[in-house]
């Protein structure tokens, strides 16, 4: 493998100085002569170099940008070294609220509570403080309640590039349309089509 090109070197330096994904625009601003295509080519070169030489880090596309991360196979080593803190696990309540917001956004607190059947004020505040959700507007409904949506940090935390990478409804065991219509009223008690988990 040959040496790195000047632009891949620049990118490597900046990736090593950042702990969040950087967009192609941000990376392009490093060199006024570099086009978006140049940046993409340099990213590919860096990635191939890391793969080819067996580096413990890799270039990952994440939350709409690019970031260098350690490979998953070195997780145990990093943990053993105690040189870095592992991300705390998200609680079930947090994940359920996040799931509801991610799929229904923009969505109000009442709808989240309706789906989870439990008061969600505390969870929403925590999610907002952690920067995983944000207020994206207000509903037109009574009292004009706040509407929530997920942030890029949410994608980062899940290792997703885009909201479209979330598991799709068809992949789920129970296929359910959002805001499903009432089942046929004439067909009393016949919920045969319902799949039990």
């Amino acid at each position: 493998m040959s040496s790195l090109t000047p632009l891949s070197q620049l990118l490597e330096a900046v990736f090593f100085a950042a702990s969040r994904p950087l967009t192609v625009e941000e990376l392009g601003a490093l060199d006024p002569d570099a086009s978006g295509a140049d940046v993409r080519t340099a990213i590919d070169q860096l990635r191939e170099h890391y793969d080819f030489d067996g580096h413990a880090v890799e270039v990952v596309e994440l939350a709409g940008g690019w970031q260098v991360l350690t490979r998953a196979s070195f997780a145990a080593a990093v943990e053993r070294s105690q040189a870095a803190q592992r991300q705390p696990r998200l609680s079930a309540a947090t994940l359920e609220s996040l799931a509801t917001i991610a799929y229904r956004q923009p969505v109000g607190r009442a709808e989240i509570e309706e789906i989870r059947g439990v008061n969600s004020g505390g969870v929403l505040r925590t999610l907002q403080e952690r920067g995983l959700i944000e207020v994206v507007g207000r509903s037109e409904g009574l009292g004009r309640p706040l509407l929530y949506g997920t942030t890029p940090l949410f994608l980062e935390l899940l290792g997703l590039n885009d909201l479209a990478d979330l598991p799709r409804a068809e992949e789920l065991t129970i296929a359910l349309q959002p805001h499903q219509v009432a089942p046929d009223a004439t067909d009393d008690g016949a919920y045969a089509s319902v799949e039990e988990g």
């Binding site: 991360l69 998953a72 359920e96 989870r116 065991t173 008690g189």
Partner: protein, 253 residues
């Protein structure tokens, strides 16, 4: 689908707090799913009344703070139970089995749980990869921060703020139409004349429902004050209003 198993153990209220196996437990729908499963009830034959009773029993053991989160679900279940118990006419086409809503909600929630489990796994996988730990200290900021601010941006912000202001909520307060004072006055007037009389005489001519209610309240108030006695011979019989003598000596005179 082992991922959706909910391990909930509702233990007797040893420790006034709601004791559940917290692994994966987050809310009333979890509890409901658990009850549905524990009963081994086919989801097509949910006995809402049994589930509702168990749910209520479970939340009885909660402290007030925890129970508050469950009240909405409890209310919903009680309403469902009432709906299933109510008789209905055969030709009522608009009737929808109230269990349908419960099934819908449970399914929707199961879906959310499944997604949550998947998101949790994704987060776990992501947590195996570490981001750069050492970051160079940020370069000293150039002294005068170039703030970009223009009027157009700010006016757009003003519009956003204005459109976000909720309309004032106006409550229409309806003057209470019950007129207990007049009804009281009528009764006192009648008592000045006679020792006892039929309560309907206090209603006045052509009484409306409101007059009846006002009079009843007036009677109750006067009875409470000890000004009158209310007599009734038989259940559902007529009410007779009698003057209450404050002094027993006067009464026997």
């Amino acid at each position: 689908m082992e991922t959706l198993q909910v391990a909930v153990e509702v233990e007797p209220a040893v420790d006034r707090a709601f004791v559940v196996d917290l692994d994966g437990f987050t809310g009333p729908l979890d509890l409901l799913l658990h009850l549905v499963r524990e009963e081994q009830i086919d989801i097509a034959n949910i006995q809402v009344s049994r589930i509702a009773d168990q749910f209520l029993r479970a939340i009885h053991s909660l402290g007030l703070n925890q129970a508050a989160d469950y009240l909405e679900m409890a209310g919903r279940l009680i309403r469902l139970k009432a709906q299933t118990l109510l008789p209905r006419r055969f030709d009522d086409d608009t009737w929808e089995d109230p269990r349908a809503e419960l099934v819908r909600r449970l399914l929707e929630y199961q879906q959310v749980k499944e997604i949550a489990v998947r998101l949790g796994r994704m987060a776990e996988r992501r947590a195996l990869r570490y981001a750069r730990g050492f970051l160079p200290p940020p370069a000293a900021a150039p002294p005068p921060l170039p703030i970009v601010l223009d009027l157009a941006d700010m006016l757009i912000a003003v519009e956003r703020v204005i459109s976000g202001i909720p309309d004032p909520v106006l409550h229409r307060v309806v003057a209470r139409p019950l007129d207990v004072e007049s009804a009281t006055a009528r009764i006192v007037l009648l008592l000045a004349d006679r020792d006892e009389f039929d309560w309907r005489e206090a209603l006045g001519n052509h009484p409306t429902l409101v007059d009846v209610l006002s009079t009843l309240l007036a009677i109750l108030e006067l009875a409470k004050r000890g000004s009158i006695r209310v007599l009734q011979d038989i259940p559902f019989g007529n009410l007779v209003i009698a003057r209450e003598f404050a002094d027993p000596a006067v009464a026997t005179a």
